[in-house]
Amino acid sequence: MAGVVPDLTLIRPAVRPAVRPRRATEEGPFIRWTLIVITVLFFAAFLVLPLVTVFVEAFRKGTEYYFKALSDPIAWSAIKLTLVTAAIAVPLNTVFGLAAAWAITRFSFRGRQFLSTLIDLPLWVSPVIGGLIYVLLFGTQSPFSPWLIAHHIKIVYATPGIIIATVFVTFPFVARGLIPLMQNQGVAEEEAALTLGAHGWQVFFRVTIPKIKWGLLYSVILSNARAMGEFGAVSVVSGHIRGLTNTIPLQIEILYNEYSFAAAFALASLLSLLGLATLALKTYIEWRAGGRPS
């Protein structure tokens, strides 16, 4: 190999076939190029352009202003609240999602189909309604209200409410990601483990978890991205108390409404980075999961 660099320009004409092999499903060049151009243009206009804009706007007043905007105490508290919310909501939904996927794919019981459908509920209803439910359930008009006040428990317009609303919005992700996967894989490996003398938990940790780990990780990062980016449901229960109950998305809206565009975009760039990181991780997972199981 070393030392000999073949001149590719000489080789190429001989190697290239005179006619590209055509498949029955391949359309003529006109349709092919039209579809490709439409896809690329759409992608550029609706995805790339906005993403670039976020970063351009964020740095409009310079790097110094960008970092100042991010280190502002109110912005910082929004970042912290977002992280805390995700750190609680995501593990909760991971456990719930695993349990639900397990129950739905492994047991047959009355109402299984109904439960499977019900898990999707947060995807159908507007997130605003999701938030409103909890305001009505735990707010001052609710029947629980006197009890909550007597025990000094504040849910609505406080961190617990934000966490609950986030859990509501993100809870389908893990279960939805795992159910088709687990249905597809079947239970033969688990049965084999049982006949080899493994107990329930051993089967779970040594067989089931390794089987679903990439799907699980994939669902968890999607759930995390949604938890950090959620606006509607959180907006209703938050009460928008600056430095206390504003998550990053809510803080962005406030800054934007106050015409602090650069500060708003600085925070928005953080969320965008999270999105990009999620995308990179997702691609990596798909690549790993597609390869040899290890």
């Binding site: 490996e189 080899l196 067989v207 040899r292």
Partner: protein
Amino acid sequence: MSIRIDGLNKNFEDFTALKDVSLEVHTGKLVALLGPSGSGKTTLLRVIAGLEFADSGRVFFNDKDVTEHSAYERRAGFVFQHYALFQHLSVFDNIAFGLEVRPRATRPSKDEIRERVHCLLQLIQLEDLAKRFPSQLSGGQRQRVALARALAIEPHVLLLDEPFGALDAKVRKELRAWLRRFHNETHITSLFVTHDQEEAFEVADEVVILNHGSIQQIGAPKKIQTEPANAFVQDFLGLDFEI
């Protein structure tokens, strides 16, 4: 160890899988469960393994009632039609699995496990492939690994569910002969399910013929072929007798 089954009944919603099935598999025998698809042979095997529970009836291993025992208590080696190897574990770890999951008190040491796995790899003639993953093996190799994995726990009985059903004809014949030789050496009580009568008659000491969840005939291959018990057996085996 012998297997005794007493009056098993099993229904799946409105489908009757087993109807009053009683059977005895004597210690050291190799018995085939033969029948058309849907005849209940796989269900019967799974009930014996503890992977399925009957609606009524009892299962005994050597006069010990194991009806209520779960699969992991029964110590019945089970070989699945589609291998059911652990995809994320190497051949070595697949075979070692049953030993690794034992409680500390009865678990062999790492060295003992390694030794035993290597013995089994030798037995199935796949010593060179210990580090491979199941996806890198051929069907015949996978089924041999599955056999070794089931044997690693030193099972009381060996249950095989259409073990050669997913293999091509040549490999099937080889493995069939191998199983017979293996049984002649170990005499582990074995029960295998098949819908292939040639396989059943060639390999087994005794053949049990099932249809619609009930036993039609039990007997040595020769006896069944010369004296079919009823019209179904005669028809199923394709025997034309002049009456």
